[in-house]
Symmetry: C2
Subunit: 215 residues, 2 copies
């Protein structure tokens, strides 16, 4: 009965040339995401200043006004590329929110997701976008997002010092060392690299957790 | 007698409106270095694309042709900023060339000079210049210089694994982690920071040598 009722409803909806608003919202989001992904790729391959909104439109087989239907301008597109990458790292903090594991384990879980985000299509935008002569307003928005990640890492290091899983150290400078090493991956990583993001994360975690000196 | 002879010679030289060629070469080098330092400062403060050769000339109270007397074009000036910074790191490798100390000590000596170079006026150019849409020729020249440093760090890590002062690890990825953390200093370091370059180096060395996990 339920499936029959659903069938009728679907058939009824199909008669209307307009999709239900939930479906329209979903379609809009899919298209917006496609613009952002295409832009992230193009910025990485050609550089931000060498890529126009016309180029992006051509890559997606649409007109420039179609792009502007989803995102206001090129800087806004870059910002969304940046945010998409950072959201992946932020989700790592969400994943460990309720964890009772020692802080060093929670920190390495974040490092693993961080490596994944930086080696993704969005890595270039996340790391190298800030050097593209952005407007002061945009620089500030980017710095606010970055600061959240930075503060999250510092907090984990402090938690680790408190629970004894991390050696006493300067949380701020240690967080800079960690994030710097991870961010720099975007300068050398290639999609066709011999190591997977997870293998890179393994080696980074080993270096940072165990140190260079034999134990 | 000797000082008298020197006195005569000096007095004689002062009569000529031309300085001896050795002195002219030295003056030329001093002026060229002044252009490079002023450029490094201006690029860091205003951005590379926002700084013209006219701006540099104005900063030094000279005309644009005077600048071009010392360096061919703006990209060449940027390259020299880059090279000046990298030369500081390369000198660290020269310093340890004949050292018989364990490789980990030689590596930390290099890290200390690396931190000094990155926190200098040339740090911005060394690290962030490559994202300025440079010509392919220039990118290649920069990559060649960077590769020398990278290979030097890898070699020290390999030496350390061989002499037992460094834990067995992937020298390439470990070198990337080290250099990445150091390079990233250029993104967060400010001249008025509370820590000196040496104090930053101390904390970085502690993190990398001892690791986060208590021993």
């Amino acid at each position: 009965m339920a499936s029959r009722a659903l069938g009728v409803k679907t058939a009824g909806a199909a008669v209307s040339p307009w999709k239900p608003s939930s479906e329209r919202a979903r379609q809009r989001e899919i298209k917006r995401d496609a613009v952002i992904l295409a832009a992230a790729r193009a910025f990485r391959l050609r550089g931000y200043h060498n890529t126009s909104v016309d180029d992006l439109a051509a890559l997606l087989n649409v007109t420039k006004p179609t792009i502007y239907h989803y995102l206001d301008n090129k800087e806004e597109i870059l910002f969304e590329c940046f945010r998409t990458g950072l959201d992946q790292i932020k989700s790592a903090f969400d994943d460990i929110r309720d964890s009772k594991a020692p802080a060093i384990e929670r920190l390495t879980a974040v490092m693993r997701k961080y490596a994944e985000a930086i080696t993704s299509e969005f890595g270039w935008c996340m790391v190298r976008a800030e050097d593209q002569d952005l407007s002061p307003v945009m620089s500030k928005r980017i710095n606010t997002l970055k600061s959240e990640i930075d503060q999250g890492i510092r907090r984990l290091i402090k938690d680790g010092i408190a629970d004894g899983s991390i050696r006493r150290c300067d949380p701020k400078i240690t967080a800079f060392a960690l994030a710097g090493a991870m961010n720099w991956i975007a300068h050398w990583h290639r999609a066709d690299a011999e190591l997977t993001p997870d293998q890179i994360a393994d080696r980074f975690i080993e270096t940072f957790v165990n140190g260079l000196q034999p134990r």
